[in-house]
Amino acid sequence: MNAAARATTAEAPHAGASLAVALDDIAISFAVKGRPVFNAVAPTSLHVREGEFVAIVGPTGCGKSTLLNATAGLLAPAGGTVSIFGEKLVGLNARAGYLFQQDALMPWKTALDNVAIALEIGGMRRADAVAQAQDWLKRVGLARFTERYPHELSGGQRKRVALAQMLIRQPKILLMDEPFGPLDAQTRQIMGTLLLRLWAQDRKAVLFVTHDLEEAIALSDRVVIMSAGPEARIIGDFPIDLARPRDAAEIRLDPRFHELHRMIWSQLKAEVAKTYGDDMNGLEASS
């Protein structure tokens, strides 16, 4: 089984120009004063083609998010290069939209203003920005909640606003860091379906980080598995050949879904066990 999985890992042939994101030999480390440098991610390469939906799955604390932050330009890698559409990334990634796990809306702005500001800062006239924001809020199903402040919305509704806020700028690359993590299971599936529907309209390149393997398979074209940190690296790369358009909830009943799940899980399981196993050993050693 493992060998079969490895066989598919061989990188699909990429035409250089069609690569939206190219992470080449990226290493990420953190320097904490008085301690040895912590190497979160060992030199790792990951390529995302234009229009490709890639999910990164790994155990908690494996450095999935740091990989995403390096792509966003929020974090400078210790080594390697980040290329966006063939250009080396310097500073913040202006072509990417980022959907955070935590609430990132400005609490002092209404849902409408939170979405409209994304266009206004680019110099668009307020009236136009508001009109577009209204349209986007309608698309995420919040037409009736435009004047609400974030605290007056549910967790799922806040995520919808954040989604509209990200998509309204029409970024070429979508970076998502466990965006639906804090939501309940049903809401997650509904949000997943909504995301797929919006994504299908113009197929941006997506890097979607999650610890939920089912979510990863249901949404993506390719599932990338990361090993437990420190020195995390990519240990598996599986194409997901489920037909689109998909419904994030119904697809889970598909027999092929189960096959893929079983195959990928067998590899991920070992890594998850390693994470907790290490923790256990650490506890025993320290006690």
């Binding site: 913040l92 980022y98 935590q102």
Partner: protein, 264 residues
Amino acid sequence: MKLHPAKLLFLQILVAVAALALWQIGATVPIGGDFLLPEFFFSKPGDVLSRVVELFVTGTIWKHLWITLTETVLAFIIGSVGGVVIGFWFARKPVVAAVFDPYVKMVNALPRVVLAPIFMLWLGLGIWSKVALGVTLVFFIVFFNVYQGVKEVSPVVLANARMMGMNERQLFRNVYWPSAMSWMFSSLHTAVGFALVGAVVGEYLGSAAGLGYLIHQAEGVFDVTGVFAGMFILAAFVLVIDWFVTRVEKRLLVWRPQAASEQN
């Protein structure tokens, strides 16, 4: 356990009636040949009330109220503007903050009342010495809150705004400023209260007008009725200002969750 509003109001009024009745009885009914609350020291509720009415009817009070209000408002505005500017500056320039830190702590530790004589020496007996005293009180409250507000901006909100493409100016307008303002407005009651304290204490220590002056004058001639009347008017004045501040606060902080659901 929530009281019916009418019942609550009734109980609240009952407290006032009981307290006034005790005061009246203590001042007018001798117990064992002695008054529990001798009129010379405690006056009588009726006398205080008629003095209050008299002050308003003759119109003498308006001038004093106006002076105190002016001092309070000026102290609040000047102190707030100073606090906001310095607060922002320190929060965005950690080096400056680090250099001035011990001095800020030192000045803030000083009981502000001791500055009153200095201000009187510098600025005279007019309103400005009172304004200065109020400013020293208001400034630190606003300063600490704005400093905190800028420092405590959620890193996620900030990262999100940057990813959206905001430049420094836009970040200031859309993220830092609202965050700092929310902290400042949450201390609005305290700041306005301190502005008033500065004004009244300043007046009390030396002035020719204002509520503090009124109380001080009455005290100087053992006019206890006058002192109580002044205190009563002062309390009512504070309540009116506080009501006004609450309205402003509600208007400005509509986006805030109600206190109980503060998390997230």
